[in-house]
Symmetry: D4
Subunit: 158 residues, 8 copies
Amino acid sequence: MKTKPQYDIPLSKVDAIDRHIITILRNNSRASYTDIAKEVGLSRVGVQARINTLIENGTFERFTLIINPEKIGIHVSAFFNIDVEPQHLIRIAELLSEEPCVTSVYQMTGPSKLHMHALFVDNREMETFMKEKLYVLQGIISVDCQILIRKFKDLEWT
Amino acid sequence: MKTKPQYDIPLSKVDAIDRHIITILRNNSRASYTDIAKEVGLSRVGVQARINTLIENGTFERFTLIINPEKIGIHVSAFFNIDVEPQHLIRIAELLSEEPCVTSVYQMTGPSKLHMHALFVDNREMETFMKEKLYVLQGIISVDCQILIRKFKDLEWT
Amino acid sequence: MKTKPQYDIPLSKVDAIDRHIITILRNNSRASYTDIAKEVGLSRVGVQARINTLIENGTFERFTLIINPEKIGIHVSAFFNIDVEPQHLIRIAELLSEEPCVTSVYQMTGPSKLHMHALFVDNREMETFMKEKLYVLQGIISVDCQILIRKFKDLEWT
Amino acid sequence: MKTKPQYDIPLSKVDAIDRHIITILRNNSRASYTDIAKEVGLSRVGVQARINTLIENGTFERFTLIINPEKIGIHVSAFFNIDVEPQHLIRIAELLSEEPCVTSVYQMTGPSKLHMHALFVDNREMETFMKEKLYVLQGIISVDCQILIRKFKDLEWT
Amino acid sequence: MKTKPQYDIPLSKVDAIDRHIITILRNNSRASYTDIAKEVGLSRVGVQARINTLIENGTFERFTLIINPEKIGIHVSAFFNIDVEPQHLIRIAELLSEEPCVTSVYQMTGPSKLHMHALFVDNREMETFMKEKLYVLQGIISVDCQILIRKFKDLEWT
Amino acid sequence: MKTKPQYDIPLSKVDAIDRHIITILRNNSRASYTDIAKEVGLSRVGVQARINTLIENGTFERFTLIINPEKIGIHVSAFFNIDVEPQHLIRIAELLSEEPCVTSVYQMTGPSKLHMHALFVDNREMETFMKEKLYVLQGIISVDCQILIRKFKDLEWT
Amino acid sequence: MKTKPQYDIPLSKVDAIDRHIITILRNNSRASYTDIAKEVGLSRVGVQARINTLIENGTFERFTLIINPEKIGIHVSAFFNIDVEPQHLIRIAELLSEEPCVTSVYQMTGPSKLHMHALFVDNREMETFMKEKLYVLQGIISVDCQILIRKFKDLEWT
Amino acid sequence: MKTKPQYDIPLSKVDAIDRHIITILRNNSRASYTDIAKEVGLSRVGVQARINTLIENGTFERFTLIINPEKIGIHVSAFFNIDVEPQHLIRIAELLSEEPCVTSVYQMTGPSKLHMHALFVDNREMETFMKEKLYVLQGIISVDCQILIRKFKDLEWT
C-alpha cells in the first residue's frame, strides 16, 4: 500500500508527539499501539491514552479505508457545478446528499452554486443519473459537469 | 467517532462478502480481524486472506485517519481554479503538489485549468500563500479562489 | 471527387487488411469489390465476405454521399448552443431532432446545453427558423448562434 | 445498416429527380445504377449521366462510409474550443488539421476561437494528445474540452 | 460643417459616376444638382435622372441631418444588451422600438439578446427609463448597460 | 423614400420652431427653404437664418444620405467586440478607424474592449479582413464577431 | 488615530480656504473651531461661518466616526453581486437596505445586478444571513459572494 | 445634516453604553462630551474616559467628515474590476493606491482581480485617467469599469 505525502499540521494546536502519531496513523490507520509506541518513544499505554483523548475531543473523525475506484469498476469521477434558484439551495443540497453515487456536496463563496462530486461505472450511468435524478429536481437552473482527467495530488482532507 | 453514509459499490466487481468487509473497514479501519470475522460469518483466517488479496491486487489503497481540521487550528478550506498557460499546466501542477498546505490538484474536462484544494490557519495565511507561492509561478494567468461555507456531505473518495 | 485525409484507426480492433478496406471505402464507397480485391491482395469473394462481416457486426454504419451544401443552395451553416431548463433537455432534444434543417443534436459534458447544427438557404431562413421553431419551445432559456466562417478540416465522424 | 432521416434539400437548385437520386445515395451510396433507375423511373444510362453531372459540377463531394467508432475501439468523442492569440489562429488551425485524431477544425462567428473535434481510444489517449500536441503549440491561450455524452441526431453535413 | 471619411463602396454594383455622386451627397446632402453636375462632369438633367433612379430603385434610403447630441442637451449615449426569454424576443423588440429615446434595436448572431441604443439627457433620465420602461417588460431576464466614453470613428451606416 | 420615426428632442435646449425644422430636415435634408418656411410658418429668410445659426453653433453636424447597403452589394453587417491589451487600446482604435470597411469604433464603460462596426460584401471578405487587418495587429487579445440578423429600429444617432 | 491620505478636491467648486478646512475636518472631524482657525489663518467666527455655509448648502453630509470592524468582533467583510429579475430590482434593493448587517446597496452600469456590502461576525453568521434573508427573497436569480482578503486603500467616499 | 441608519454592533465585544456612544458619534462626530454625557447618563469625565479608551485600543479609527461629491463638482463615481497578471497584483495595487482620485483598492476572494473605486469630475476626466494612469501600467490585462447609477444605502464601513 502506498505512503502518501503528509499535510503539515500547524504547530500551535497539537504537540510534537501527537503530530508524530497522527502522521503514522494517516499513513496506516491499522498500525498497532505497540508499533506506534516504539516509533514515538512512549509506552503502549501512553499512546493508547493519547489516541483516546484525540478521539474523545473530536480531533480524530474516523479511521477509514481508501479504495482504488477503478478496481471496483468505477471509471468516471465527475464534478458538478449546479446552479439552483437560491430559495431551493438548501433543500436540493440535502436531497442530492442522499444519492448513493454522490460523495460530496458543498456550498462555497462565489456564485450561489452547489459543488458536487460523484462516482459512476461509466458515462452511461452518469447520463442516467443526470436525466433521472438531477434534471428532475425542482429549482435546478443549470448543471455544469466535468470529468476528472488526471490527479496530480490527492489527500483525504476537505 | 462518527459513522459515515456508505457509497454503493457496484456489484459486478467484488462479491457480497468483500463488500461487507469494505463497509466495515471504511467505517472503522482499526476493526480487528476477529470482529470483522464475527460480523461477516467467516473465520478470522479467511477474513485476513481476503483483506490481503484486496491489498495485493490494489483494491485497497490505504488505511487512513480523517481529522477534523478545526480541531488542529485550520479554519479556512479553500478551492482554487487556476488558469494557466497550457504549456505550463503540467509543470505548475507538479510544483503546487509539493506545497504542504495543498491537499489536491486535478486536471478536468472543461477549461484548461487546474483545480486545487488547500487548507489554511486563517485568511492571512491564505493571502501569504497566494502572494508568495501561487502568484509568483511563471505561466499563471489568473486565480479564482473560493472558500468553503458549508459541507452537506463529504465522503473520502475522489 | 476529392480524396480526404484519413483518420487513423487504432490497430487493436481490426486487422491490417480490414483497415485497408476501410480506407478505400471511406475515400470512395462506390469502389467495386474487384477493385478493392486488387488493391488489398485478396480474392473478390474474400473482400465481399469481410465487408459483409463488418456490416453485420455493426462496424459499418452506412455507405453515404457527401454533398457540397453551396451547390444545392445552402449558404448558412450554423451552430447553436441552446440553454434549456434541465427538466426539458431530453424533450427539446427530441423535438429539435425532428426538424428537417437540423443535422445534429448533442449533449456534452460542460454546461447543461444542447449543441445543435443546422443548414439554411440564407440568414432570413435561419431567422424564421429561430423565431418560429426554436424560440417558441417551452423550456428554452437562451440560444447562442454562430455561423461557420471557414472549415480547415472536415471528416465525417462524430 | 441503418437508414437515416433525410435533410430536406431546397427545391430551387436541383430538380425532383436529382433530389430523389440524392436521397437514395445518401441512404446507400453503393446502390447500383440499375436499382436507382428502377426507383426513380429513368433509364440506367440517364441515371449515370445525371450522377456524372452532379459529380462534375461539384455537387457530390464524396461517396463515403460511416463507421461506428466504438466498434473500432474509439470510446471518447471530444469537442475542443481553443482560444488562440489571433495572430496565430490560421497557423494553429492548419497544424491541428494535420493531426490524425482530429476530424474537424472550424472558425466561426462569435469569439475568435477554433472549434475542433477529435476521437480517442480513451481518456488517457486524450490527455496525452492535449499534453503533447495541443498545449505545446505557441499561441494557445486556453483550451476548453467537452466529451460527448449522448447523440440525439447525427447526419453527415457540416 | 465637418467632412467625414468615406466608406468605400464596392465597385461591382454602381458605376464610377454614381459612386462620385454618392460621395458628394453623403458629405452634403443639400448640394444642388448644378454643383454636383459641375463636379462629376455631367449635365444638370443627367445628374437629376441618376439621382431619381437611385431613389426609385431603393439605393438611396433617405436624405437626412446628423445633429450633435450634446448641443441639444443629450449627455448620455447608452448601449444595452438585453437578455430576454426567447419566446418574447420579437414582441419586446417591437415594444422597445416604439420608445422615443431608443434609436436602434437589433438582433444578431451570438447569444439571443437584443442590442439597443438610446440617448438620454443625463444618468437620472436613463435610470428612470430603465426602471419604468425596461425592467417592467414581461420576459426581460437581465439588462447590461454601457455608456459611451469615446467615439473614434462614426459613420452613419448600420 | 421612407419617412423615419423621430427621436424626441428635449425641449429645454431648442425652441419649438427649431425642433420643427430639425424634424423636417431629418426626414428630408434636401427640403427647400421655401417648403420648410411654409410648413413652420416663417419667412424663407427667417428659416435660412435659423438653419445657418444651427450650423454655425455646431448643432447641425452634417446633411447626409443614407444608403441601403444591400443595393450596393453589401450583404454582411458585422459588429466586433475586440479585447485588446489596455496599453494598445488607443493606438488600435486609431488604426482600425482608418480601415475603409469600418464604419464605427467606440470605447464604452464595461470591459476594456473596442466596439467596432464594419460592412462587407460577403463572409469571405469579412474573413479576409479579420485575417489580414485585424488579427495581425499587435496587442489584440481576442475578437468576438457577430453578424446582424434583423433590424427592428435604426435611426442615425450615436 | 491614523491620518488618512486625502482625496484631491477639484479646484473650481470650492476656494483654497474651504479646501483647507475640508482637509482638516476629514482627518479629524472633532477639531475645534479655534484650532482650525489657527491653521487656516482666519478668525474663529470666520471658520464657523464657512462651516455653517458648507453644512447648509449640503456640501457637508455628515460628521462621523470610522470604527475598526475587527475590534468590535466583525471578522467577515463581504461583497455580494446579486442577480435579480429586473422587475424586482428596486423592491429588493429597498428590502436589503433595511437589513442591519448591510452597509451599502448600489445599482451600477453593466449587468442589471445589485452590488451590496455587508459585515458579519464570522462565516456562520454570513451563511445564516444568506439562507434566511437573501435566498428567500422573491425575484433573486443568483448571488455571487466574495470575501475581503486585503485592503490596500480605503477612503470614505462613494 | 442627515441622520443615517445604524449598523448593529454585535453585543459581545462592547457594552451597551459604548454602543450608545458609538451610535451618537457615528451620527455626529462633533457632538460635545457634555451632550453625549447627558444622553447616555454618565458624567462628562466618564464619557471622555471611555472615548479615550476606545481611541487608544484602536476601536475608533478616525473622526471624519462625509462630503456630497456632487457639491464639489464630482459627477462620476466609478468602480473598476482590474484583471492583472498575478505576479504584478501587489505592485499595481500599491501604485493605484497612490493616485489621488482613487478612494479604495481591495483584493477579494473570487477571480484574482483588484477592485478599485475612484471619483471624477466627468467622463472625460475618467477617460484621461484610464488612458494615462491605468492602461499604461505593466501587468494590466483588462479593465472593467462601471459607473454608479443609484445608491440605495451607503454607510461608511468597509
